[in-house]
Amino acid sequence: MKEVTDALFQKEVLESEVPVMVDFWAPWCGPCRMVSPVMEELDQLYNGKIKFVKLNVDDNPTTSMQYGIVSIPTLLLFKDGKAAQKLVGFRPKGEFESLLNQYI
Protein backbone atom coordinates (compact mmCIF):
# COMPACT_ATOMS: atom_id res chain seq x y z
CA MET A 1 0.00 0.00 0.00
CA LYS A 2 1.30 3.38 -0.96
CA GLU A 3 2.32 5.82 1.76
CA VAL A 4 1.16 9.40 1.07
CA THR A 5 2.30 12.64 2.69
CA ASP A 6 0.98 16.17 3.11
CA ALA A 7 2.88 17.10 -0.06
CA LEU A 8 1.50 14.22 -2.13
CA PHE A 9 -2.07 14.35 -0.81
CA GLN A 10 -3.44 16.69 -3.49
CA LYS A 11 -2.10 14.63 -6.38
CA GLU A 12 -2.51 11.12 -4.99
CA VAL A 13 -5.86 11.50 -3.25
CA LEU A 14 -7.79 14.63 -4.23
CA GLU A 15 -7.01 14.40 -7.94
CA SER A 16 -7.44 10.66 -8.20
CA GLU A 17 -9.85 9.39 -10.85
CA VAL A 18 -10.95 6.45 -8.72
CA PRO A 19 -12.18 6.63 -5.11
CA VAL A 20 -9.37 6.56 -2.55
CA MET A 21 -9.43 4.96 0.87
CA VAL A 22 -6.98 6.76 3.16
CA ASP A 23 -5.81 4.97 6.30
CA PHE A 24 -4.75 7.57 8.88
CA TRP A 25 -2.37 5.70 11.16
CA ALA A 26 0.71 5.86 13.32
CA PRO A 27 3.28 3.20 14.15
CA TRP A 28 2.62 3.12 17.92
CA CYS A 29 -1.12 2.53 17.55
CA GLY A 30 -2.17 -1.08 18.14
CA PRO A 31 -5.54 -1.00 16.37
CA CYS A 32 -3.83 0.63 13.37
CA ARG A 33 -1.60 -2.41 13.03
CA MET A 34 -4.74 -4.55 12.79
CA VAL A 35 -6.35 -2.33 10.14
CA SER A 36 -3.28 -2.42 7.89
CA PRO A 37 -3.45 -6.09 6.85
CA VAL A 38 -7.21 -5.76 6.22
CA MET A 39 -6.53 -2.77 3.93
CA GLU A 40 -3.81 -4.72 2.11
CA GLU A 41 -6.30 -7.50 1.44
CA LEU A 42 -8.99 -5.07 0.29
CA ASP A 43 -6.43 -3.37 -1.96
CA GLN A 44 -5.90 -6.68 -3.76
CA LEU A 45 -9.61 -7.48 -3.79
CA TYR A 46 -10.65 -4.20 -5.43
CA ASN A 47 -7.66 -4.37 -7.74
CA GLY A 48 -7.45 -0.71 -8.80
CA LYS A 49 -11.19 0.07 -8.73
CA ILE A 50 -10.52 1.73 -5.40
CA LYS A 51 -7.12 3.07 -4.47
CA PHE A 52 -5.73 2.39 -0.98
CA VAL A 53 -3.13 4.61 0.64
CA LYS A 54 -1.93 5.27 4.18
CA LEU A 55 -0.94 8.52 5.84
CA ASN A 56 1.18 8.70 8.98
CA VAL A 57 -0.55 11.32 11.16
CA ASP A 58 2.57 12.09 13.15
CA ASP A 59 4.63 12.98 10.07
CA ASN A 60 1.75 14.73 8.28
CA PRO A 61 -0.07 17.00 10.72
CA THR A 62 -1.45 19.39 8.08
CA THR A 63 -3.68 16.86 6.34
CA SER A 64 -4.66 15.24 9.65
CA MET A 65 -5.75 18.58 11.09
CA GLN A 66 -7.54 19.60 7.93
CA TYR A 67 -9.77 16.52 8.09
CA GLY A 68 -10.28 16.68 11.86
CA ILE A 69 -8.53 13.41 12.65
CA VAL A 70 -8.59 13.09 16.45
CA SER A 71 -8.56 9.33 16.80
CA ILE A 72 -6.64 6.69 14.93
CA PRO A 73 -7.12 4.56 13.03
CA THR A 74 -9.49 6.70 10.97
CA LEU A 75 -10.40 5.72 7.43
CA LEU A 76 -11.61 8.35 5.02
CA LEU A 77 -12.97 7.48 1.62
CA PHE A 78 -12.43 10.23 -0.93
CA LYS A 79 -14.49 10.53 -4.08
CA ASP A 80 -13.94 13.33 -6.59
CA GLY A 81 -11.64 15.15 -4.18
CA LYS A 82 -14.09 15.12 -1.29
CA ALA A 83 -14.23 13.05 1.88
CA ALA A 84 -17.38 10.99 1.33
CA GLN A 85 -17.19 8.49 4.20
CA LYS A 86 -15.48 8.38 7.55
CA LEU A 87 -14.90 5.35 9.73
CA VAL A 88 -13.21 5.68 13.09
CA GLY A 89 -11.56 2.66 14.67
CA PHE A 90 -11.20 -0.92 13.55
CA ARG A 91 -14.12 -2.47 11.67
CA PRO A 92 -14.70 -6.04 10.57
CA LYS A 93 -13.50 -6.67 7.04
CA GLY A 94 -17.06 -7.29 5.86
CA GLU A 95 -18.18 -3.88 7.05
CA PHE A 96 -15.44 -2.18 5.03
CA GLU A 97 -16.52 -4.20 2.00
CA SER A 98 -20.19 -3.22 2.27
CA LEU A 99 -19.17 0.42 2.41
CA LEU A 100 -16.68 0.20 -0.46
CA ASN A 101 -19.10 -1.73 -2.68
CA GLN A 102 -21.24 1.40 -2.88
CA TYR A 103 -18.38 3.17 -4.63
CA ILE A 104 -17.49 0.78 -7.44
Binding site: C29, V70, I72, T74, G89, R91, P92, K93
Partner: protein, 286 residues
Amino acid sequence: MNARYDIAIIGSGPAGLSAAINGKIRNKNIIVFGQKHLSNKIVKAPMVYNYLGLPELKGEELKNQFQRHIDAMGIEVRNERINCVYAMGDYFAVMAGSVLYEATSVILASGMEFAAPFPGENEFLGRGVGYCATCDAPLYKGRTVTIIGYNEEAVEDANYVSELAGKTYFVPMLDKELHLNPGVEIVKSKPLEIKGTDFVEKLVLKDRELATDAVFVMKDSVPPSQLVPGILMEDGHIQVNRRMETNLKGLYAAGDCTGKPYQYMKAAGEGQIAALQAVSYLNAVK
Protein backbone atom coordinates in the same frame (compact mmCIF):
# COMPACT_ATOMS: atom_id res chain seq x y z
CA MET B 1 3.59 -15.46 16.59
CA ASN B 2 1.48 -18.18 18.18
CA ALA B 3 -0.12 -20.92 16.17
CA ARG B 4 -3.67 -20.18 15.12
CA TYR B 5 -6.20 -21.75 17.49
CA ASP B 6 -9.43 -23.32 16.27
CA ILE B 7 -11.56 -21.68 18.97
CA ALA B 8 -10.73 -18.87 21.35
CA ILE B 9 -13.14 -18.76 24.28
CA ILE B 10 -13.41 -15.55 26.22
CA GLY B 11 -14.83 -16.08 29.68
CA SER B 12 -14.55 -18.89 32.22
CA GLY B 13 -18.06 -18.98 33.67
CA PRO B 14 -20.50 -21.82 32.90
CA ALA B 15 -20.94 -20.69 29.26
CA GLY B 16 -17.24 -20.46 28.52
CA LEU B 17 -16.32 -23.70 30.28
CA SER B 18 -19.19 -25.61 28.70
CA ALA B 19 -17.99 -24.35 25.33
CA ALA B 20 -14.44 -25.37 26.22
CA ILE B 21 -15.46 -28.90 27.20
CA ASN B 22 -17.49 -29.40 24.04
CA GLY B 23 -14.77 -27.96 21.83
CA LYS B 24 -12.20 -30.20 23.48
CA ILE B 25 -14.38 -33.31 23.11
CA ARG B 26 -14.60 -32.52 19.39
CA ASN B 27 -10.83 -32.47 19.35
CA LYS B 28 -10.45 -28.80 18.52
CA ASN B 29 -7.43 -26.74 19.45
CA ILE B 30 -8.92 -24.35 22.00
CA ILE B 31 -7.68 -21.55 24.20
CA VAL B 32 -9.69 -20.23 27.16
CA PHE B 33 -9.26 -16.78 28.67
CA GLY B 34 -10.75 -16.15 32.07
CA GLN B 35 -9.93 -15.70 35.68
CA LYS B 36 -8.41 -17.70 38.50
CA HIS B 37 -11.73 -18.05 40.32
CA LEU B 38 -13.45 -18.87 37.02
CA SER B 39 -16.48 -16.66 37.71
CA ASN B 40 -16.90 -13.86 40.23
CA LYS B 41 -20.63 -14.30 40.01
CA ILE B 42 -20.56 -17.99 40.99
CA VAL B 43 -18.01 -17.58 43.75
CA LYS B 44 -20.21 -14.93 45.30
CA ALA B 45 -23.43 -16.99 45.08
CA PRO B 46 -24.43 -18.17 48.59
CA MET B 47 -26.36 -21.19 47.33
CA VAL B 48 -27.35 -22.58 43.95
CA TYR B 49 -30.52 -24.66 43.94
CA ASN B 50 -31.34 -25.30 40.32
CA TYR B 51 -28.21 -26.73 38.70
CA LEU B 52 -29.28 -30.13 37.36
CA GLY B 53 -27.70 -33.00 39.25
CA LEU B 54 -25.86 -30.72 41.66
CA PRO B 55 -28.55 -29.44 44.01
CA GLU B 56 -27.91 -27.13 46.93
CA LEU B 57 -24.30 -26.33 46.33
CA LYS B 58 -22.63 -23.20 47.54
CA GLY B 59 -21.36 -21.10 44.66
CA GLU B 60 -17.81 -21.85 45.74
CA GLU B 61 -18.51 -25.61 45.64
CA LEU B 62 -20.07 -25.39 42.21
CA LYS B 63 -16.97 -23.53 41.03
CA ASN B 64 -14.81 -26.33 42.46
CA GLN B 65 -16.87 -28.89 40.53
CA PHE B 66 -16.30 -26.92 37.34
CA GLN B 67 -12.60 -26.73 38.11
CA ARG B 68 -12.36 -30.50 38.66
CA HIS B 69 -14.17 -31.12 35.40
CA ILE B 70 -11.86 -28.94 33.30
CA ASP B 71 -8.77 -30.23 35.12
CA ALA B 72 -9.78 -33.79 34.32
CA MET B 73 -10.06 -32.82 30.66
CA GLY B 74 -6.76 -31.00 30.58
CA ILE B 75 -8.33 -27.62 29.93
CA GLU B 76 -6.32 -24.67 31.18
CA VAL B 77 -7.85 -21.26 31.85
CA ARG B 78 -5.48 -18.43 31.06
CA ASN B 79 -5.71 -15.57 33.46
CA GLU B 80 -5.31 -12.88 30.80
CA ARG B 81 -7.56 -9.93 30.16
CA ILE B 82 -8.69 -9.53 26.56
CA ASN B 83 -8.71 -5.92 25.36
CA CYS B 84 -9.99 -6.40 21.88
CA VAL B 85 -11.15 -8.96 19.32
CA TYR B 86 -10.59 -7.98 15.71
CA ALA B 87 -12.58 -9.63 12.92
CA MET B 88 -9.85 -9.87 10.30
CA GLY B 89 -11.93 -11.66 7.68
CA ASP B 90 -11.07 -15.38 7.79
CA TYR B 91 -9.73 -15.29 11.33
CA PHE B 92 -9.84 -13.28 14.55
CA ALA B 93 -7.03 -11.41 16.25
CA VAL B 94 -7.45 -11.58 20.00
CA MET B 95 -5.40 -9.06 21.96
CA ALA B 96 -4.39 -9.77 25.55
CA GLY B 97 -2.49 -6.65 26.51
CA SER B 98 0.22 -6.50 23.90
CA VAL B 99 0.11 -10.24 23.20
CA LEU B 100 -1.70 -11.27 20.04
CA TYR B 101 -3.50 -14.59 19.66
CA GLU B 102 -5.09 -15.79 16.45
CA ALA B 103 -8.16 -17.99 16.23
CA THR B 104 -10.38 -19.15 13.40
CA SER B 105 -13.48 -18.82 15.57
CA VAL B 106 -14.30 -17.06 18.82
CA ILE B 107 -16.87 -17.70 21.52
CA LEU B 108 -17.66 -14.69 23.64
CA ALA B 109 -18.85 -15.70 27.09
CA SER B 110 -17.80 -12.66 29.01
CA GLY B 111 -20.83 -12.22 31.22
CA MET B 112 -22.54 -8.98 32.16
CA GLU B 113 -19.90 -7.52 34.46
CA PHE B 114 -19.16 -4.34 32.61
CA ALA B 115 -19.87 -0.74 33.33
CA ALA B 116 -22.35 1.06 31.14
CA PRO B 117 -20.89 3.89 29.04
CA PHE B 118 -21.15 7.43 30.35
CA PRO B 119 -23.80 9.62 28.73
CA GLY B 120 -22.13 11.14 25.67
CA GLU B 121 -19.42 8.44 25.53
CA ASN B 122 -20.82 6.62 22.50
CA GLU B 123 -21.99 9.82 20.87
CA PHE B 124 -18.52 11.39 20.88
CA LEU B 125 -16.53 8.24 20.18
CA GLY B 126 -13.89 9.16 17.62
CA ARG B 127 -14.74 12.84 18.11
CA GLY B 128 -12.76 13.35 21.28
CA VAL B 129 -13.71 10.19 23.18
CA GLY B 130 -11.23 7.37 22.86
CA TYR B 131 -10.04 4.18 24.53
CA CYS B 132 -6.41 4.17 23.44
CA ALA B 133 -4.75 7.21 24.97
CA THR B 134 -1.32 6.22 23.75
CA CYS B 135 -2.68 5.91 20.18
CA ASP B 136 -4.36 9.28 20.06
CA ALA B 137 -2.24 11.41 22.40
CA PRO B 138 -0.02 12.77 19.59
CA LEU B 139 -3.17 14.15 17.95
CA TYR B 140 -3.73 16.34 21.01
CA LYS B 141 -0.32 17.99 21.14
CA GLY B 142 -0.59 21.15 23.24
CA ARG B 143 -4.31 20.60 23.91
CA THR B 144 -6.30 19.48 26.97
CA VAL B 145 -6.79 15.77 27.63
CA THR B 146 -8.78 14.11 30.42
CA ILE B 147 -8.33 10.50 31.43
CA ILE B 148 -10.94 8.64 33.45
CA GLY B 149 -8.81 5.87 34.92
CA TYR B 150 -9.98 2.60 36.42
CA ASN B 151 -6.62 0.79 36.47
CA GLU B 152 -2.84 1.06 36.70
CA GLU B 153 -2.45 1.17 32.92
CA ALA B 154 -4.51 4.34 32.90
CA VAL B 155 -2.00 5.91 35.28
CA GLU B 156 0.88 4.99 32.94
CA ASP B 157 -1.07 6.32 29.98
CA ALA B 158 -1.76 9.59 31.79
CA ASN B 159 1.96 10.04 32.37
CA TYR B 160 2.66 9.40 28.71
CA VAL B 161 -0.10 11.78 27.58
CA SER B 162 1.16 14.53 29.88
CA GLU B 163 4.41 14.64 27.92
CA LEU B 164 2.49 15.64 24.78
CA ALA B 165 -0.71 17.35 25.85
CA GLY B 166 -0.88 20.98 26.96
CA LYS B 167 -2.90 20.04 30.03
CA THR B 168 -3.70 16.58 31.43
CA TYR B 169 -6.45 15.81 33.95
CA PHE B 170 -6.73 12.43 35.63
CA VAL B 171 -10.04 11.40 37.19
CA PRO B 172 -9.19 8.38 39.37
CA MET B 173 -11.81 5.63 39.61
CA LEU B 174 -9.44 3.37 41.56
CA ASP B 175 -8.62 3.51 45.22
CA LYS B 176 -4.85 3.33 45.15
CA GLU B 177 -1.84 5.51 45.53
CA LEU B 178 -1.28 7.22 42.19
CA HIS B 179 2.21 7.67 40.77
CA LEU B 180 1.48 10.48 38.37
CA ASN B 181 3.83 13.00 36.82
CA PRO B 182 3.73 16.45 38.46
CA GLY B 183 2.19 17.79 35.23
CA VAL B 184 -0.98 15.72 35.68
CA GLU B 185 -3.78 17.33 37.65
CA ILE B 186 -5.75 14.83 39.71
CA VAL B 187 -9.47 15.56 39.87
CA LYS B 188 -11.26 13.48 42.49
CA SER B 189 -14.91 13.56 41.50
CA LYS B 190 -17.57 11.46 39.86
CA PRO B 191 -17.87 11.74 36.05
CA LEU B 192 -21.45 12.27 34.93
CA GLU B 193 -21.50 13.20 31.27
CA ILE B 194 -19.35 14.03 28.25
CA LYS B 195 -20.60 17.08 26.38
CA GLY B 196 -19.77 18.96 23.19
CA THR B 197 -21.08 19.96 19.80
CA ASP B 198 -19.08 18.55 16.86
CA PHE B 199 -16.26 17.46 19.13
CA VAL B 200 -15.88 16.94 22.87
CA GLU B 201 -15.83 20.21 24.78
CA LYS B 202 -16.20 19.29 28.41
CA LEU B 203 -16.51 16.59 31.00
CA VAL B 204 -19.25 17.20 33.52
CA LEU B 205 -18.38 15.93 36.98
CA LYS B 206 -20.49 15.79 40.14
CA ASP B 207 -19.12 19.03 41.54
CA ARG B 208 -17.32 20.74 38.63
CA GLU B 209 -16.82 20.82 34.89
CA LEU B 210 -13.57 20.34 33.00
CA ALA B 211 -13.10 22.07 29.66
CA THR B 212 -11.31 19.40 27.62
CA ASP B 213 -10.62 18.43 24.01
CA ALA B 214 -10.45 14.72 24.70
CA VAL B 215 -11.76 12.16 27.18
CA PHE B 216 -10.13 8.74 27.40
CA VAL B 217 -12.08 6.14 29.33
CA MET B 218 -9.74 3.41 30.57
CA LYS B 219 -11.82 0.60 32.07
CA ASP B 220 -11.01 -2.97 33.07
CA SER B 221 -14.11 -4.61 31.75
CA VAL B 222 -15.51 -3.16 28.59
CA PRO B 223 -18.89 -3.73 26.95
CA PRO B 224 -18.97 -6.20 24.04
CA SER B 225 -19.44 -3.40 21.53
CA GLN B 226 -16.05 -2.05 22.55
CA LEU B 227 -14.43 -5.45 22.96
CA VAL B 228 -15.41 -6.52 19.45
CA PRO B 229 -15.60 -3.60 17.01
CA GLY B 230 -18.54 -4.13 14.68
CA ILE B 231 -20.56 -6.56 16.83
CA LEU B 232 -24.28 -5.88 16.90
CA MET B 233 -26.05 -5.40 20.21
CA GLU B 234 -29.73 -5.57 21.08
CA ASP B 235 -31.12 -4.09 24.31
CA GLY B 236 -27.71 -4.14 25.99
CA HIS B 237 -26.92 -7.72 25.02
CA ILE B 238 -25.09 -9.32 22.12
CA GLN B 239 -27.46 -10.07 19.28
CA VAL B 240 -27.52 -13.82 18.62
CA ASN B 241 -29.81 -16.32 16.93
CA ARG B 242 -30.80 -19.82 18.07
CA ARG B 243 -27.41 -21.08 16.92
CA MET B 244 -25.62 -18.50 19.08
CA GLU B 245 -24.27 -16.85 15.94
CA THR B 246 -23.54 -13.12 16.14
CA ASN B 247 -23.57 -10.83 13.11
CA LEU B 248 -19.88 -11.64 12.58
CA LYS B 249 -19.11 -14.89 10.80
CA GLY B 250 -17.23 -17.31 13.05
CA LEU B 251 -18.03 -15.37 16.19
CA TYR B 252 -20.47 -16.82 18.70
CA ALA B 253 -21.74 -15.61 22.04
CA ALA B 254 -23.11 -17.51 25.02
CA GLY B 255 -24.27 -16.94 28.57
CA ASP B 256 -25.39 -13.79 30.34
CA CYS B 257 -23.93 -11.52 27.63
CA THR B 258 -26.60 -12.76 25.18
CA GLY B 259 -29.52 -11.93 27.46
CA LYS B 260 -31.76 -13.07 30.27
CA PRO B 261 -32.41 -15.28 32.13
CA TYR B 262 -29.04 -14.93 33.83
CA GLN B 263 -28.96 -18.56 34.86
CA TYR B 264 -26.02 -20.99 35.05
CA MET B 265 -27.68 -23.82 33.18
CA LYS B 266 -28.93 -21.57 30.42
CA ALA B 267 -25.37 -20.30 30.09
CA ALA B 268 -23.92 -23.81 29.99
CA GLY B 269 -26.47 -24.83 27.35
CA GLU B 270 -25.65 -21.86 25.18
CA GLY B 271 -21.95 -22.53 25.58
CA GLN B 272 -22.55 -26.01 24.23
CA ILE B 273 -24.52 -24.75 21.22
CA ALA B 274 -21.87 -22.15 20.50
CA ALA B 275 -19.07 -24.73 20.63
CA LEU B 276 -20.87 -27.18 18.37
CA GLN B 277 -21.67 -24.40 15.89
CA ALA B 278 -18.04 -23.31 15.96
CA VAL B 279 -17.04 -26.91 15.24
CA SER B 280 -19.38 -27.02 12.21
CA TYR B 281 -17.99 -23.72 11.04
CA LEU B 282 -14.41 -24.96 11.40
CA ASN B 283 -15.21 -28.14 9.49
CA ALA B 284 -16.80 -26.09 6.71
CA VAL B 285 -13.94 -23.61 6.27
CA LYS B 286 -11.03 -26.04 6.60
